[in-house]
Symmetry: D2
Subunit: 343 residues, 4 copies
């Protein structure tokens, strides 16, 4: 049994991690921390766990990780970077769902997050937890930095095109939408049903923190710098990310459908849809799956890729468990084969 | 391996059955029929099954059930009653999710459904598939008639009160609401997002077919006839049933909280919430769970019970699998321990 | 031109008042206050007002009401009772949308709100602003206390039955649901789309502050004390209240349809639906309308009434403008004849 | 009084037209037709009209338009082109909300709609009903072809850039989303709450009939052919269109904010938001308004424009009434100054 700790379990990513880990046959959740809810039973805060979980939250100040083989951070940014170094020193492996270790370039991180990084020496070491790109490196990592939700959908969508060098790397466009759970379990006016329901609006057009993360990953795929215009939208739904990607083809002809099917043929969690089909977020709700489709409207030189995930699963907790499975030597799909909840 | 057939797999109950059965370690789905979609792959109709299912629909006219140990009917009423007798004769056990065998009194059935019953001799034999009441009888049944969605929520809610004889049986009120999936996967104006979304309305106040089913079951619990006023409402959501139940107490004092906790202490799929908590359908989404709470507002003589289920799971497919587990000798919770998808 | 002031304009009731008042041909909005948003333009906070309104919020400490003929309070409870006496003294008429003056019995108010009333002498004088009951008294009132949203739907629903003495007054049941805007424009976890969306739950079953208000009003109609069991539910939508009412008939036979049609024949804002129809909240969205229907299921002795309103219009701002129209001598329907926004 | 006829009044566009026309002080609705609902009262089909309308549907075969000064077509395509010529011959002016006369090039129309045009001679004469572009021509038109919903949002968004020649005309991208009401009041599986709710998917990526309409209009603005990649998405909401537009700037520097503000300074129904603000569809719900904002992320050479409308108002019925106002000599804003319903 892998003994697992979870730091920060009161958000949507935390409860989603528990939903998966509590049904993982090779895992015992030993410890889950929360400053604000210390002592409270989890099923009191999250009645969805009634009958499934006897744990209570531990005060982080009193948390003893020595009984853990590995630890997840499901915290806002700025927590993991302070606590991870000590854990790693004690030989505990870490999967961080926050943004602290996603950018290799510390300077870029500090510019976008507006503060000094507390563990700059780990930024280069941390393995970016996108298994479809970094599976081997994850296997031996001490620290895995899980991708953000938008970056997962966008990178999996552009990946075959960029690896094959088929599109102009400096004219990428990603028009994306996320369900409100992407904003976290926080009392914010913009996330009220009365504000976010029955409405759509863009946000962060001037600059979103996922932009440098995506440009870093896409640049690696393209083996050269890329320029991405990224517009996220808040959608009137709870879960799901839809990425609509646009790129300009630089080749005369290309069988894009085969390109995508071949690239993802062996991937357990990426499905390429039949030509003419459009993926819908409802079909990945609750599942650790990315569904993709690719098109070339009117036979012109702009390729359109559609990519959907559940932001809390393949975009967060599911991908973190996938990384844990790889890291700890479990079968990669363990506890992740749940079928999407549709409708 | 239990070899399972599914008659009628193109509705929401059908795809939900598959979601559960495809992950059941003791089951093989051998056959799934559809008249309209014969030959089509299931994952083409339901992209949520991409990567999880290679089956295609079989034309019912060509279906060979001899390779099935048991068969589910996920059809509208009026299908099972024509086909079940032959299956039973061949020793195939049947779990019927439709309304054909829910009423013991054929005359009542024929009055509410407006047609002649095709297998009246089986109405008395069929076991009503509410395990919390009929577990033992289900174990040896040849034919299980799964309860409707409203009847599941309402009966589990009233059960402790009626068994204990604590309320007047002729003044029961059930004000219930259902998500739109209860109306099935059918192109109906009333089920459009534009009609059902952002709105609530009652329907069927003059008479709903679940009324005689509920009065039959509640009467058995009370050991005397009951009168129920039942008002269903269509709610602006996809899944979930909420039943708000009212009854007049006939005792001077009663510890209702303990009554409920004791009655359901051993039940794997019924949770009684702590006093003062109100169950929410989001906390049972996708799970085979009923969450209940009981209150006595202002200490007056009206007791209020709140009962929530996912109409497609504990109200249909999940309960059917639960009955199958009991019937076929599996552990009752197999494939049914998935945790609710919240948010 | 009636010069109007609005105290507290940053909530949903405030912006809804403005939506109506800015298009009222006999009204000028002179002043609108907010402590938190003083100096900010309204259309910056509420972009729905772009192009329709040049006002900015005034700090309440600097508000000069002397230029106002009347003032609306769109504040939480506990504000109006401190400020109204001075306004009334200056001859300014007041329509209070908050709960401060809804209960005639100061003791009851203090018990339910847990504090000392600051203007007890006005509680008896304040006219309860339900025009269908109190039209004449409103005409000459100095202070109108607008009903709560649930009380409007519930009282209009029970009114004909109680006035006619046709039901037992001590066994009334109201199972109601409200859109999330009823919880106000406040950053609360329970109002998040991720919590309130795609879900329904009851709340406040042990006791809701609208209960004494309803029992007061219903008792007046019945001319005797009543007992009401009231269960409110939070619905996954933004606007709308649906009240499902149950009562036990004490007469042998009654033409309930005619009773309702006759009682509301002259009312501009109450519609009784044809027999067999069920009102839906979508059909009153944005309109100052209550739609009702009445039924007697199975011909038994329980009558069921369904009543729908838009909680922000007939349940708040619309009703307040209706009271203002009566009070200030305008035609009662001025600025209130907008047709509901369906779908 | 302008006597108005409406052909085809049972869809969402029809009821929305009525919502506006019934409150237009200069209009009498004389006639409204429906084949399927002939004889039925409108308020029976649409309870939102209860108390506001005594009309019943007329069978189109029996419709006498001689009492009409003008006629709206709120029909699917393929109806107006058969009936308009006779009306025009009788001097009745026509505002067509369908697609029959939107394309000047009959050949293009026939290719996209797959049938022969029944009134090709009127295609060139029909005035495209986008007042912000064609106000003067509308004034004297015999036949106005109202723009589609997506084309309204997209064209108003690109207009200032193309008129000013600031972007490359062959690399335009429009990533758009529409509420489900855009699919009409028709019983379709894809429009069910259970399918469209809590989900987003693209559709028609291979080719959507609004594409040639947009390229025609944008080309006129640019005074040269344009190439647009257009991806529409179905959004989990009832009303609203959001267009996110991308174009490559061909100038060294441009004050885009001023460009937009100046272009729309005199327009009653277009608002340019302050820099940094993002328009939301909730803020135009029910209003005949387009709200725009423009940005240049990271100071790079891709400009992003966001444009929102209510698809049933500025995208259909409201724009049609606006055209009628211009055409018939009313003030352009009459009956169209209703403030958006937010929340």
């Amino acid at each position: 049994m892998i003994r697992v700790g979870v730091v920060g379990g009161t958000g949507y990513t935390g409860v989603e991690l528990l939903r998966l880990l509590l049904r993982h046959p090779g895992v015992t959740v030993s410890l889950i921390t929360s400053r604000g809810e210390a002592g409270r039973r989890l099923d009191n805060l999250f009645p969805s766990l009634l009958g499934a979980c006897d744990l209570a939250f531990t005060d982080p100040a009193e948390a003893d990780y020595s009984a853990c083989d590995m630890v997840f951070f499901a915290t806002p940014h700025n927590v993991a970077m302070r606590e991870v170094p000590a854990l790693i020193e004690h030989g505990i492996r870490v999967v961080d769902l926050s943004a602290d270790f996603r950018l290799r370039d510390v300077g870029v991180w500090e510019r976008w997050y507006g503060e000094t990084h507390a563990a700059p020496e780990l930024c280069a070491e941390a393995v970016y937890g996108l298994p479809e790109v970094n599976r081997d490196a994850i296997r031996t990592a001490r620290l895995v930095a899980c991708p953000g939700c938008y970056p997962t959908a966008v990178q999996l969508g552009f990946l075959p095109l960029l690896e094959a060098g088929l599109v102009h790397p400096n004219q990428l466009v990603a028009s994306c939408g996320s369900g409100v759970s992407g904003a976290g379990r926080q009392a914010k006016l913009d996330s009220l049903l009365t504000e976010a329901g029955e409405s759509i609006a863009a946000y962060g057009v001037a600059g979103h923190r996922h932009l440098p993360e995506m440009e870093q990953g896409l640049g690696t795929m393209a083996d050269q710098p890329v320029q991405l215009t990224f517009v996220p939208h808040l959608l009137p739904m709870s879960r799901g990310i839809h990425a609509t990607l646009f790129a300009k083809i630089n080749a005369d002809s290309a069988d894009l459908q085969s390109l995508y099917e071949n690239r993802y043929a062996g991937e357990p969690f990426v499905s390429v849809m039949a030509p003419g089909k459009h993926p819908a977020t409802r079909d990945v709700r609750g599942a650790n799956v990315c569904q993709l489709s690719v098109a070339q409207p009117q036979g012109r030189d702009t390729v359109v890729v559609m990519s959907v995930i559940d932001n809390l699963v393949k975009g967060a907790a599911g991908q973190a468990v996938q990384c844990m499975n790889i890291l700890m030597g479990c079968s990669e799909t363990t506890a992740l084969d749940g079928i999407a909840l549709a409708p």
